[in-house]
């Protein structure tokens, strides 16, 4: 084939442009979403497990750690002295730590002083799932739970970088040596994998109609409510209908499934 250098370069340029932007172009042409995250829309239909946290009730018992203790005991979450190794599924966060966009200097001290339990938000549009290269973390289609498949986790920690809530912990050291009281009914993790709250998937599997996560069960003050966001008569929807609620960092478009009554 006889081709001038100039023509070859032109052709190569067109080829490279199509190669890099071809898929997005094709999706635009076909009317699909080229950038799904920016145009994601939540719906209120179908089964979607969610949690509502009453920050008023919870703040009245600021020293209570029942939900954290129950969760960490049930799921064999290791307890490390060294904060760099910390592993947590649910923990207490300051108001400004949990809702950095909602605070201002004139805010009442009572609200700012509240510490709230925070956990994996089981986002409707989870960034951790988007970045996981092995599919080890995935969103269950049937109920919206963001699950971890420890068998597939390679410990790359992209999900930790992707999660805007710090809900994921990496096992830097062998976790079994740091579990005070092993629960034989739940596996531990191994060194080199990421872990997080699973909305008590093991309890959902056992009682799919009306599951009660370990933290909700442990709360003596009824500050945690769990239920189906798609059902208007569910406890979470009734709680949401009655009072003003916040979600953590809503501007990021993740669509959290954990709500905070203020």
């Amino acid at each position: 084939m006889d081709m001038k250098r100039r023509d070859f370069l032109k052709l190569a340029g067109v080829g490279a442009t199509l190669g890099v932007g071809g898929r997005a172009l094709w999706e635009v042409v076909r009317g699909e979403e080229a950038f799904a995250s920016s145009t994601h829309r939540e719906t209120s239909e179908g089964l979607r497990w969610a949690m509502v946290v009453d920050t008023v009730t919870c703040a009245e018992h600021g020293d209570c750690r029942d939900c954290i203790a129950a969760c960490h005991r049930a799921h064999n979450v290791p307890r490390h002295e060294d904060p760099r190794h910390e592993v947590k599924w649910i923990w207490r966060e300051t108001f400004s730590g949990a809702f950095p966009d909602e605070q201002h200097v004139f805010m009442g001290h009572e609200v700012l002083a509240r510490t709230v339990p925070v956990l994996c938000n089981h986002c409707d549009n989870p960034p951790c799932v988007r970045v996981c290269p092995t599919g080890a973390t995935f969103k269950r289609k049937k109920d919206g739970v963001v699950m971890m498949d420890m068998h597939r986790c390679i410990g790359c920690r992209y999900c930790i970088a992707g999660c805007p809530y710090g809900a994921r912990s990496f096992n830097w050291v062998e976790p079994r040596d740091h579990i005070p009281d092993i629960n034989p009914d739940y596996p531990t993790r191994t060194r080199g994998v990421v872990e997080k709250c699973t909305f008590c998937a093991e309890r959902i599997a056992k009682n799919p109609a009306n599951p009660v996560p370990a933290c909700v069960e442990a709360c003596r003050f009824g500050a945690l409510v769990f239920g189906n966001l798609g059902d208007e008569s569910s406890p979470v929807r009734r709680a949401l209908a009655g009072r003003f609620t916040l979600r953590r960092k809503p501007g990021l478009g993740t669509g959290p499934s954990v709500f905070y009554l203020i």
Binding site: M147, M150, H151, P184, D185, P187, T188, A205
Partner: protein, 152 residues
């Protein structure tokens, strides 16, 4: 092509060697469709040379009769790893909690510790003895718990 005879003969010999498992199996009377790795490279059986003292079945009822496993013993011996592999995807990823065995029986709530070790309680005797001799180091127990050993 230069040296066509040598090249073609070489390719034929290479292809023959690479497909040894398939034609060996076929010539031994097995069907090629049912070819699976564990039959070509069979798992050691209790009583085989060097494995005479392997226990035949550790899962016994209180009266000493063997308990029913999810699949026949022979099948489990050869294919337990494939079954476990499938289970873990089903339980964790597909939310299929029950196992319907080839005999048609449904086994609820599959778990390695909760289901397998409920009967085969002594991991050290049931799993490790064979795995150790076969040089097999499955990493199941990095996370799943051996209750008899105190959950360690």
């Amino acid at each position: 092509m230069y040296d066509a005879g040598k090249v073609v003969a070489g390719i034929a010999i290479f292809a023959g060697l690479v497909t040894v498992p398939i034609w060996y199996q076929a010539s031994a009377g097995g069907s090629v469709q049912s070819l699976d790795l564990y039959r070509v490279f069979p798992v050691v059986q209790p009583g085989a040379q060097g494995f005479e003292d392997l226990p035949k079945d550790l899962a016994l009822n209180p009266d000493g009769t063997p308990r029913e496993c999810v699949e026949p013993t022979e099948y489990m011996r050869a294919n337990h790893m494939a079954i476990l592999d499938r289970w873990r995807d089903q339980v964790v990823r597909e939310d299929v909690q029950d196992y319907i065995s080839t005999t048609g029986k449904t086994w609820p709530h599959l778990k390695l510790t909760g289901t397998c070790l409920k009967c085969h309680q002594k991991k050290a005797e049931f799993c490790d003895r064979c795995h150790d001799r076969a040089g097999e180091k499955p990493y199941c127990w990095d996370c799943h718990l051996d209750r008899v050993a105190g959950g360690r």
